[in-house]
Symmetry: C3
Subunit: 441 residues, 3 copies
């Protein structure tokens, strides 16, 4: 295990934890993942070394899940394009983005003109290999840089893809961390993209670290459902198996993705937009990263598409660093482990840690006395009244002023403009003096 269960290790993630997460990402980097196949299994096995509680599940190809069907399993041994001289000018072993995901087997000699219809590149990013897939329509293709494409000479080329597409299984992993109640918090991340760092590895890596931190908590109030699934089909499969339980128990959930670069913070709301998941996330970001980018649910693009769909209606939002689709390296070979940094991952970890602290610590506090309590006699208020006195204890008196039992601590924190996680010790202090009661609702 890379991440210790020692609470103190999580208090300052920038010191050490960011580096450990980046190391885990590096280990997962070379694996040729797709929505099914050995790459997913290898990835889950490495994650299980970090989280022994991770249960690996497999669902057979052909299984019906709502409007979808689990596809055949795809595996790939090799893929390349040779020129007439026998030189491999494109080689899957150099970069697993070179082959279109779910390509059918191929072994053809083609003219350059014929080959072109099987090539994908990005005119605006001449040095990036694009990421392209075709899960549900049978075709084959190669992805190369626009620069290489422009350099191809007339002649014949040998395109070989040694892939297999046949009935097998779809894999995913899940962890259930039981809490004091059976009310659940959902964390969902995906494990289906090949070598990309922000839009793939940052998600499972931060989720693994958060899982370790959650395990270190004593008196954990909520039960945590943490899933590592292939995007779209994986969350649909998972929902088809657990929808009833999740609908009745989930109080908040997050899709953890694109959480590793160092540029910005982003928020994508749930469809409802006002769930506990939304409130906790925007509260934390407003203090941690006041200039964070606010997206609309219309900008969604990951598994909240399923979790928030009509009839599913889960309170699932997403906190990200640079959001998918919004940074130039997205879905190209440029989304690498230089873009994702230890400090970027540590910042993402800290955001989710504070969010979950807010959810865990939320309660409906109520003062036990009428009028303001006399804080001075308990050493909580200056005894000398000057022009300045009172301002220093503003956060505590403001907290007390709203503890009428009708507002949650999260709502109070918003109203008085304080980070909720800084109010938690005050709530404890006031409770020790019997000046506050913590109601659960």
């Amino acid at each position: 295990m890379r991440f210790s269960d020692d609470p103190s290790a999580f208090a300052h993630p920038a010191v050490n934890l960011g580096l450990l997460m980046h190391q885990l990402a590096s280990e997962l980097w070379p694996i040729a993942r797709s929505i099914t196949g050995p790459g997913v299994r290898k990835t889950l096995e490495i994650l299980k070394q970090e989280i022994p509680e991770l249960c690996l599940q497999s669902i057979p190809s052909g299984t019906r899940c709502f409007d979808w069907t689990v596809p055949d399993e795809w595996s790939i041994a090799d893929a390349f394009i040779e020129d007439e001289a026998g030189d491999r000018i494109v080689d899957f072993r150099n970069n697993n983005l070179h082959v279109v995901g779910y390509s059918v087997p191929a072994d053809e000699w083609l003219d350059l003109e014929e080959l072109q219809s099987h090539l994908h590149s990005l005119r605006d990013q001449p040095h990036a290999i694009p990421y392209v897939t075709s899960y549900y329509s049978r075709r084959w293709g190669f992805c190369i840089t626009e620069a290489q494409r422009q350099s191809l000479k007339r002649g014949r080329y040998h395109a070989v893809i040694r892939s297999e597409l046949k009935p097998g299984v779809l894999n995913y992993g899940e962890v259930i961390l039981a809490g004091e109640t059976d009310q659940e918090v959902l964390l969902s991340t995906y494990i289906c993209h090949p070598s990309m760092a922000n839009n793939e590895l940052s998600g499972p890596v931060v989720t693994a670290a958060i899982t370790s931190w959650l395990k270190s908590l004593v008196n954990r109030k909520f039960t945590y459902r943490i899933v590592f699934v292939p995007e779209t089909i994986g969350s649909i499969v998972y929902l088809s198996l657990h929808l009833s339980q999740m609908k009745s128990k989930t109080v908040a959930g997050y899709v953890v993705t694109c959480i590793g670069d160092d540029r910005t913070y982003s928020f994508l709301p749930s469809r409802a937009g006002n769930s506990l998941a939304d409130l906790a996330a925007t509260h934390v970001l407003s203090h941690l990263a006041p200039g964070y980018r606010k997206y609309s649910f219309l900008d969604r693009g990951s598994d909240e598409r399923q979790y928030c769909s009509p009839g599913v209606d889960l309170p699932v939002a997403s906190v990200m660093r640079s959001k998918y689709g919004e940074y130039p390296e997205y879905h190209t070979s440029l989304d690498d482990l230089n873009l994702v940094t230890p400090t970027g991952l540590a910042g993402g970890f800290l955001a989710y840690k504070h969010i979950l602290e807010c959810i865990e610590g939320n309660c409906y506090p109520r003062v036990t006395v009428l009028c303001e309590p006399q804080l001075g006699k308990r050493g909580l208020y200056p005894t000398l009244s000057t022009k300045q006195s009172g301002k220093d204890v503003r956060a505590m008196t403001n907290l007390i002023a709203y503890c009428d039992g009708s507002l949650s601590l999260l709502e109070i924190a918003e109203r008085i403009g304080q980070p909720m996680w800084e109010l938690l010790p005050m709530v404890e202090r006031l409770s020790e003096f019997s000046l506050l009661e913590k109601k659960s609702s």
Copy 2:
């Protein structure tokens, strides 16, 4: 009939319909209308040639209607001011705005000083004849340009008004176009101003064209109540006869006025401000004319004063081009058929057509599957996933994401930023694949 019942004729009103509406306005232009009398009847008869379903009604003078009484009927044969040489220096035959509406008969020789108290002109618009009426207080007067007034020489003048004011009737016209339900949409326009174009003729002319278009609709959902009334007293009379039916059935209504010039679009909300009439109108204008002018109900001035009055409480708003009281030619001889144009009328028609399309097509759509439907297997989604794919079908996936049966299509269109009339074909397509149900509420 000028306007065909052919649906295709209404699809592009700027091509031909604008010209036809302008021709109808030209035919109605010279008639000396007032709130009662032969001018109203002549106007209604011409409109009946366009709309054979138009029923002409007459209510006797002296009839009590709420706080009001139908006034005596007014007719005018001639009116002029002669100078001592016998020259007609002001002549009703040249412009029917020259006489104060509802003037009592007069035949007097007066000094210029005495005459002045019977003259009306506009200091700030020296070349405009103002429009002045005195329906409920017996007086007589003439309206002339300030330029002419300044040129009047000392001397004696012969003022003659050959009018009659005696018990008769108040006339109005109504059309009921039955639909699949008895829920009603109200369109109200007025026919009581003499020769003015935007603040009079644009209203009945666009309403007549909209009526023809409504007749061309197959499967019309709503029943349409379309009334051509003298302003204020006419709508009060009409409400006194139909209030109970209208209160229980009306889902939306509009006062159609000032809808023919080419300058801007304007919106005046209902008193409640959040009725279907308001939502449909602002939705359409936000797409058709994003810079449209938003007025407050405090700026009202036409028959929404009656339709929205306390206890009447109908959901009646008004979409206009240049609003009454807000353009310099308003209530003067300058409000003519140069100000009102074929393209201005066509734009007004199109706004109301889209509004009524939104009201007709509104429903509560609900997706029939859990999670996102697999659009790809139905040819509704690209099978190759690239950096760009998904964006092209954003409108459809956004539509689906909100079809949870709790939101109307109009609300969904607002939320996803699409013109509702462009979503209607998508709703049909998805319904054909049995992916959507259309609930009525």
Copy 3:
């Protein structure tokens, strides 16, 4: 009595009333007030000369009131610092801010270094004597200007405080002005600061004038509870005695403080923020002083801290001129009767007068006819219709348009943008014509 009961005297407070209020403040100025003791009693006795109905109450030291205990009574005969030559370099007789409030007796010779720990001054305001108290922790001290402090020479000083701190009483005054109903309006002001003008005397002085004006009203609808209490402990004592009655009867309340300077107007909302007290105050200020400063409940600092505390929950707001803590002279000797002016006091009086007029005159008006009433036949509307007519009677027609019995007159005034106190005569006029009914809710 300084303030007459003649209603006309209150109509234009700037003419005469401001001067009378300033005179009363001058008379109260020299008294050495604190939260208990002879200064409070002397102040209440002078106020009783203005308001014979004022009842003086006393509560024994040691009485428990919620989380607090009434402290010992403090009195002070003399206090000074002498230098070695026997010259009084600091003398309580010159300015009663020189001694820390509630100082215990002292009679000590000290070095300058020892003396420093008992001195208070303001580095940023070198010519101001600060106001400092220590009610609940026994200490003694002197307040001097920073300029004087810098000029003190090494040597020995004789510090003498001839104070007494022993069981006694806490005093306050209350007036109940009965109205037609037992529903109450609360006015609370404080009488516990020594010689300061805006942050002390403006409150009781304006409250005394408002009390006289309230007495002059015929048909006063509400009962007024007007209290003159020492801040914090006084309102807590008062609430502990009257909470049940106040919770069930209070419709609106205000803390009257800092209401005498000429600079600005300020508003501090109640904790709920949407009570009648808030609505009436912001309505009045938006017309009387559109640029007034809007504070948050988080900026509170006077007895609304108690009145709005959880479980007490009274609808108490505060309208001020320059708010405590927000003007440089606050809590120093510079807050004097040059800062507080006759026009400043008159403006404060007028704001509260209009607020209470709005609360007194509020009702739910409903028109008695359907459609617009015919105002012309009652002489309330011009009979000649021109381009301009209608605009002159806009306020009345807008008033009528919203009199549907569901909106209060205060809400209507807000919606139509008119000062409510200017609508009151219109409501009376329309009621005389039987066009309006005034419902009480």
